[in-house]
Symmetry: C2
Amino acid sequence: MAAKRSKTGYVILGLLSEENLSGYEIKKIVDTRLSFFWSESFGQIYPELKRLAAEGLIAVCGDPVSMDSKSSTQSIKYRITGPGRLELAEWLKTPVEKESIRYELLLKLYFSNTDSSATMLQHIREFEINHRRQQLLFGKFEDQLKQNLDVHSNHSRILMVLSFGQKLWESYAEWCGETIALLEQDIAEQGTSSDE
Amino acid sequence: MAAKRSKTGYVILGLLSEENLSGYEIKKIVDTRLSFFWSESFGQIYPELKRLAAEGLIAVCGDPVSMDSKSSTQSIKYRITGPGRLELAEWLKTPVEKESIRYELLLKLYFSNTDSSATMLQHIREFEINHRRQQLLFGKFEDQLKQNLDVHSNHSRILMVLSFGQKLWESYAEWCGETIALLEQDIAEQGTSSDE
DNA sequence: AATTGCATGTAAGGGGTTACATGATTCT
DNA sequence: AGAATCATGTAACCCCTTACATGCAATT
């Protein structure tokens, strides 16, 4: 248990605990499988990979056997080490820090007034579209996961995470529907007075 | 419409658009009324107040009436200016940036496996407790708001924001209940089958 | 008189995004 | 050959939190 490290480090350890990956692949996975509750950028991943390697928690895959399929010569694959697994396990035990969530949409809505109904309507519609896209992905992920339950040893945990996302996104959808209706009503009532 | 400023600036402008406030009061309001979807720290607020004042978007309340008495010797109240209101209105129109949400709880759950069920159970119970506390506040806020509908001109908007929070927190509660049950089941099964 | 709370402020540092730079590989 | 994509890496910058410092006010 080294000094407090950034969350990025644990994401890397966590993903490497399942399979050997390159920085690029890690980024891709985060952007797809974890995207609805996490994000990382290259600017964090690559330096952190070097840091973790320097600490001996991960190591470059030197084995020529893993060069099988389509892996290219320039891609640097890492594997997790014993100390790395320990570090990951240790982190899992530490209390979860309070998440600080910031919804700019709510901020705008909070400070808006009746004469900006049209604008807010537009914002919420956009919010709805973006999130509906993600909502569709949940179904796909779930199907994929249930098809090969044996690939990931922790598939039940992943299903729990997915369930969290589904519930949240359902809330989003519900709220969007209701709020859009309210705003449209606002606009209709306002129809008599001046508007842009 | 000055250069792109931090969100803090708009929070300040938004709150000042309703009433004159000091930095300390702004912090208190954010920590209560906005806390479930936003946060600010003094380190952001005070410098931003000065920046906004320098740009002429807000100004120190120089009310000579309250200066003579001892009421406001140390507290510096600000008011929004005409340009400030314009800037706020301008920002309301700009598209909402994609929120980047990070749930460390989900990260841990995602990387956990069957032999850390007890730990995860603990994490989720803590999550449940923390969020149930907030959930109780929603009711209070709603009551307060409905009692004095005339105080805030934009009470309907605030109700929309509250509704968002309520739906989200209901999802949290629901998910916690289900997931805790699953984990308890895991642990029970693991207890009977001695070891692996 | 001393402690606690109110209120403003600053400095350090971390965490994270963005933009840029550089090659290699693959596709057309 | 040229374009697009893959892949690694770095540097600058920004936002934000934390910790600290200060002084006034009210309380005990």
